[in-house]
């Protein structure tokens, strides 16, 4: 009885505090993710307050948060959108991944962390936050802009890249032998191809697993079935050492049509709750005293990350025949990093490689989640000001 009392008090206080922080973030116009991370820093190991009783619960909640983040990411795009994105925007996607993984990889080698950490840091710096970006584009009224499809197609390809990258990373982190590692990677890639094929050709049959199209839509049943299926597949994936995140992601891709939209809708409050718990948990695992020493490297990485994303967007938009202003808008829109960088760093922290990696990733995401929306907002006046100073070309 006493144990539950403490858990309720701690959990209640944490969630309420997150609500206050989230409100603050929206008032100021930034993403709440950095504030959740800071919240986690204050209650974690070496923080101001220490949560004892509810840490186990928060840890499980964080794992569910990862599953939900990847499940809703998979639901966001249909399999055919993924494939047509691959056909149309492959060059932009390759440039995006190469250019943006580079700063992370270089940083890991300069810091002397070894190849596995370099693969992790490459992922942390490469993947944009589709959640923050979709919100910013909507808030700024840019969904109809002609460069927006370019931005979205880059996000779609990052999404596909995650499906390949996560199993590779999981195998690397598990210190598996090359043969075993390549086997799990091959299983994961085989599953991805199979799921894409099923989702494109037989989406109605897959969808029937979670929903009877003849019955009236019932949100409760839909929620239970989709969440149940995602956790089941995530658990199975874990058993095969493929990574829970990939399992959940594949479930999201396999579901399509109106059911996917309905599922995304009913899952979104749950996702917001558990994702917040996940960010707090990541913050809790990070020692606040390690943050100042990571700040310099984090800031340098942030500057590099802003530059490389702007170059990516600029180039991709130019390829699509967009004007100068639109090219800079596309680049700036891509800057924000967030949930997926933390998911990747979280895997590395859980595997216990390089203790300084967590604080650096935390710093990086803190900076990028705050500056991303700001860069997107102020890119237009900034470009205009620079253009005015430049002598007019004839």
């Amino acid at each position: 009885m006493h144990a539950t009392t403490t858990i309720f008090l701690e959990l209640g206080a944490v969630l309420f505090a997150l609500g206050v922080l989230g409100h603050l973030a929206i008032r100021v116009g930034i993403s709440p993710i950095p504030l959740y991370l800071l919240g986690g820093l204050t209650v974690g190991h070496g923080g101001l307050i220490s949560l004892g009783a509810s840490e186990e619960f928060i840890e499980i909640g964080a794992e569910i948060g990862v599953v939900l983040l990847l499940l809703t990411l998979g639901l966001e795009y249909t399999a055919s959108e993924l494939l047509s994105g691959l056909r149309q925007a492959a060059p932009a996607g390759v440039l995006d991944l190469v250019l943006n993984a580079l700063p992370g990889i270089v940083a890991a080698f300069i810091l002397g962390w070894g190849p596995t950490a370099a693969v992790v840091m490459g992922g942390v710096t490469a993947i944009s936050s589709s959640g923050i970006i979709a919100k910013v584009l909507g808030d700024l009224g840019r969904l109809g802009n002609r460069e927006t499809p370019v931005v979205l197609s880059v996000l779609v390809l990052e999404d596909l890249a995650m499906a390949v990258y996560l199993p590779v990373l999981t195998a690397l982190l598990a210190h598996q032998t090359f043969a075993r590692g390549s086997l799990t990677v091959a299983i994961a890639l085989g599953l991805l191809v199979a799921v894409l094929f099923l989702a494109v050709r037989h989406s109605d049959k897959v969808t029937r697993l979670v929903f009877d199209p003849k019955a009236d839509r019932n949100d409760e049943i839909l929620l239970l079935r989709v969440l149940g299926l995602a956790l089941l597949v995530a658990g199975l994936a874990q058993k095969m050492q493929v990574s829970t995140a990939v399992g959940a992601f594949l479930v999201g891709i396999a579901l399509s049509g109106p059911i996917a939209e309905g599922a995304a809708e009913v899952l979104s409050p749950l996702r917001d709750l558990f994702a917040a718990v996940f960010f707090v948990f990541f913050g809790m695992q990070t020692d606040p005293e390690s943050i100042p020493s990571a700040l310099l490297a984090g800031s340098l990485l942030a500057v590099a990350g802003i530059t490389t994303k702007i170059i990516t967007g600029w180039w991709a938009a130019r390829r699509a025949g967009i004007g100068t202003m639109g090219r800079f808008r596309a680049g700036a829109a891509l800057v924000a990093r967030g949930e997926f960088s933390i998911v990747i760093a979280g895997l590395a922290v859980a595997a216990g490689i390089e203790p300084k990696l967590g604080p650096l990733a935390a710093c990086y995401v803190l900076l990028m989640a705050i500056t991303g929306p700001l860069v997107a907002r102020f890119v237009e006046p900034a470009t205009r000001a620079v253009r005015k100073r430049l002598p007019a070309r004839a």
Binding site: R146, E147, E265
Partner: protein, 160 residues
Amino acid sequence: MDIEETALPGIGLRHDFQTRGGRRVGVVSHHHGRRDIVLYDVQDSDAVGECITLTAEESDVLSELLGAPHFVEKLADISRVFAGLVGEQITITPGSPYAGRLLGDTQARTRTGASIVAVVRDHVVQASPRPDFRFEAGDIVVVVGTPENTASVATLLRTG
């Protein structure tokens, strides 16, 4: 008229076209039924200058406003071209004896002299409906004839 269609992964679809006046107008259709009407900027043709967000219901109303009066105007033209002829719109009420029955059953032309030239159902115009067309409550029947003839059709459809 050339309408460009662009997929917006994760959001929906965008349609846009250039008006004869030179402005670019588009509609962003979200998966959940929300519609954004966007007007592109005059200076920067890639950027949205104005954006109006409509709910599913509001966009229905707007499309009706843009589409339906057009139809009524055309009907009004009939009386201008052929003196003595009028076009009337008569709604089939749920209490009408012909709700659920065939157009042929009304024998409207034989009994009144006016012609049923179209039926509008859920904003879709069915031109020249055949005698085996089945009326439903809520259908709008478009009748052309003299003022007396069309009034008789109205009575016929209301009371039988």
